[in-house]
Amino acid sequence: MLEVRGLNKVYEGHQRRVEAVRDLTFTIDAGDLVCLVGPSGCGKTTLLKCIAGLLAPTAGEVLLDGRPVTGPPRGMAVVFQEYGRSLFPWMSVRDNVALPLKQKRVAKARRRELVDEALAAVGLAGTESAYPWQLSGGMQQRVAIARAVAYEPEVLLMDEPFAAVDAQTRADLEDLVRALWKRLGVTILFVTHDIDEAVYLGQQVIMLSASPTVVQERLAIDLPAERDQLHTRADARFTHLRTHVYEQIQAAKRGTRTDAAVASVAE
């Protein structure tokens, strides 16, 4: 459904030339929930922007349903890492969430419903009329999430969407994303730095290497589909998987690949 083929992205500046992504190839099936982890600065955001059609790759291509992505595709929602700047400061929280729906020509009543639901789901009921800059960092981030959730997208790209919220809220939001995924069959690509989160949420975890970036490993998470914060995280398999991912990330940062570990998981 979503195919990334030989993706390469080089940022050319005045004196700076950064090869953010060297060569990425992977596929995500429709309805998959894939988590993406990788060292800071390895090109996750870059990759997401290329998939979202916001950035033209230097080489390679992104295909969505077999068609190359040249601009933002219909039915896609993105939660940006720079959540604060992605909210429109001139609009109330409600309007921020409602605007994409309006664009999508959702009827007014339904729009209201969706907005209210989404805001309630992220724990922001009651802040509808506030401006984003009147909110705390975590609250702003949740507005951005609510906007994506209310949009009911077919493909959802999230770039470290829970970085600014507390542990409890984070757990709730994780469950929200899984619920949304199950209910609507959304295809989700989820960037996170929290390894537990990646394993808890994903059906698949893609690990990126440090720069020059390639896919370090792709790991299927063979935990049961029904997950909950208490039991899933206490599961031995969970611990095993998270340890593996952790080791891979460490290896990625060192620039090596611990093939032994892969074998031990893939066995």
Binding site: Y11, E12, G13, H14, K49, L54, L55
Partner: protein
């Protein structure tokens, strides 16, 4: 590389060439005394703007223009920073400034003459009196709009006084200040002309007004074209400077967009 250069030249010259062509054709049979054929205008251009005249009229004008513009920039940015930084100062000064801003230069000039005489000083002051406004207003707004987080950062690291001015206020407001300075550039040219309508005996504006008065209409049009060219050249220089000063800003704004 050559292709892009060619494209840029095409973009710079394309529209003007088309417009001049339209002008040329549209006025070719013009009988109107005040709208002579462009052909006529162009044919007198060389004789009108001789080296002698460029030296005697255009140069003094340009010097006054630059002096006025420089002074207006210093004044506009300086006052703007103060007014933009302190709400009370702004409250006191704004109505007074708005008062003067609304007075037309032709009315203001005689008043300025009362204090500044009729020499070059007066003309420079007239230029300043008109082109300081866009710089001032934009600086005030730019300084008021400094990002709150950035301002907090500067404060918490005790970046105060001149360092704050240099590293925070001016830089942060610079996109808006540049907008003001660009506005001011063409206003300075306009006021150069107006200032030379009073007590002048040389200058580009003076010459144009003389042409107008003595019914040398094609020559007057050449003067207007020359003003346009002057504006174009100055703005090209300005753009060059702006691209250096705002390199970070253009990079920031277009980093994601263009690539």
């Amino acid at each position: 590389m050559a292709a892009t250069a060619l494209k840029r030249i095409g973009l710079v010259l394309g529209l003007p060439v088309i417009l001049f062509a339209v002008w040329y054709v549209a006025t070719d049979n013009s009988q109107s005394f005040y709208v002579p054929p462009l052909r006529t205008i162009l044919s007198v251009f060389d004789d009108t703007w001789t080296g002698q005249r460029l030296r005697a009229d255009v140069l003094p004008s340009a010097l006054r223009l630059l002096a006025g513009y420089a002074l207006a920039t210093v004044l506009g940015v300086g006052l703007g920073v103060v007014i933009g930084s302190y709400r009370r100062v702004r409250a006191v000064a704004e109505p007074v400034l708005e008062f003067f801003r609304a007075i037309p230069p032709p009315v203001l000039v005689p008043v300025i003459m009362l204090f500044a005489g009729i020499g070059d000083g007066m003309k420079v002051i007239v230029i300043v009196s008109g082109c300081v406004w866009p710089i001032l207003l934009n600086t005030v707004e730019g300084v008021r709009a400094v990002d709150g987080v950035l301002a907090d950062t500067a404060r918490s690291y005790r970046i105060t006084g001149p360092a704050r001015l240099r590293h925070l206020l001016l830089r942060s407001a610079s996109p808006q200040i540049m907008a003001g300075m660009r506005q001011a550039l063409s206003i300075a040219i306009i006021l150069m002309v107006i200032s030379e309508m009073f007590a002048a005996s040389n200058g580009l504006g003076f010459t144009i007004v003389q042409f107008q008065r003595s019914f040398a209409i094609p020559e007057m049009w050449t003067g207007i074209i020359l003003l346009g060219l002057l504006g174009f050249v100055l703005s090209a220089l300005f753009r060059f400077a702006e691209n250096r000063v705002l390199a970070w800003y253009h990079g920031l704004r277009s980093a994601q967009r263009k690539s």
